[in-house]
Symmetry: C2
Subunit: 194 residues, 2 copies
């Protein structure tokens, strides 16, 4: 299983698909879902993508995995489904994951709680950071979980929390879009058969 | 200069940004623009991205380069600007490139004509194909131009035309989204300083 976790400032309440950037740069989260889950004509069954939404009073966690259905790789479609999921969440939900009809998981979890859960599962964490060790020189272990931030990065406190368990790795000195990072990490892991 | 050329079945007439997939999978072209031109908080000045639109009676060529302005990396924004450019094109245009106010180039050129023009410029062509030589084992020369197809690939005739001048290279056995291919190719070229 390959895991990605995005720290996002995306809204935790429903939003209009006409202005994804205005909903806490939800466009970034949508592009990342596309890059993480979709390959030509199908989705990756061995990958899951967590979004930690922090653009509201209480954080919400979403997870897209190989069981998503009826979702296309375009940002608008993904944005619409995220917004519908947040609508559902407004009717009450807790710490336990719930799954929508089209397979999106949601729960009232913070970024730290997502990491703690994955730590218990035995994931090996890698924090994407321009100052980290070159990914080409890093041994990526089985069951890797890659941690990324949105356009504003991961807040200092959360970053420190991630650093406790994560190895910092770098794709180089260029500051890539989060979705591009995911595409490159997938390609490297595919090549190594991880 | 790094160049990408996408063969797309995207519409050659204006379309609604509410249904980019319905406009000849225009969402693919938009995602590719984002992957090709955008890095964190800025755009690549040394890259240009050609789209050969073939979803109409006459093909139209668009080009996004380091001179684009007021365009955000989200699909909707890119789609809106493409549609506006096609509106302009309906008022008449020819074989010469014209530039819109926000920097998008457009001309009445076919896929073959784009390649011919780039050939005269001295580009070194690479055709992305799962059956090609592994990109890791390929020497990417200066001034590379990477040729990709949309979800249905490049039609046989056009592919043969490209093969005349292009080396076939592969990112592996996985069939990636075109936008993911662009992200990976960029990363490889960045690392090699090409």
């Amino acid at each position: 299983m390959r895991t990605f976790i995005l720290y996002s400032r995306g809204w935790t309440k429903p939003f209009s698909e006409k202005d994804l950037p205005g909903a806490g740069r939800m466009d970034i989260a949508c592009r990342c879902v596309s890059a993480a889950l979709f390959i030509s004509y199908t989705i990756r069954r061995d990958t899951r993508f967590f979004i930690s939404l922090n653009g509201g009073s209480q954080p919400i966690a979403l997870c897209f995995d190989g069981r998503i259905r009826k979702i296309s790789p375009d940002e608008r479609s993904i944005g619409l489904w995220i917004s519908k999921t947040l609508e559902k969440a407004q009717n009450g939900f807790g710490k336990e994951w719930k799954r929508t009809d089209n397979g999106i998981l949601y729960a009232q979890k913070s970024f730290r709680e997502i990491l703690e859960e994955l730590e218990k599962e035995g994931c090996e964490f890698y924090l994407l950071d321009e100052e980290g060790k070159k990914i080409e020189e890093t041994t990526i272990k089985e069951n890797p979980a890659f941690v990324l931030g949105d356009n504003l990065g991961i807040p200092k406190g959360e970053e420190k929390f991630a650093e406790r368990v994560a190895e910092k790795i770098s794709l180089g000195k260029t500051s890539y879009l989060a979705s591009s990072c995911i595409s490159v990490v997938h390609w490297i892991c595919d090549g190594k058969g991880i």
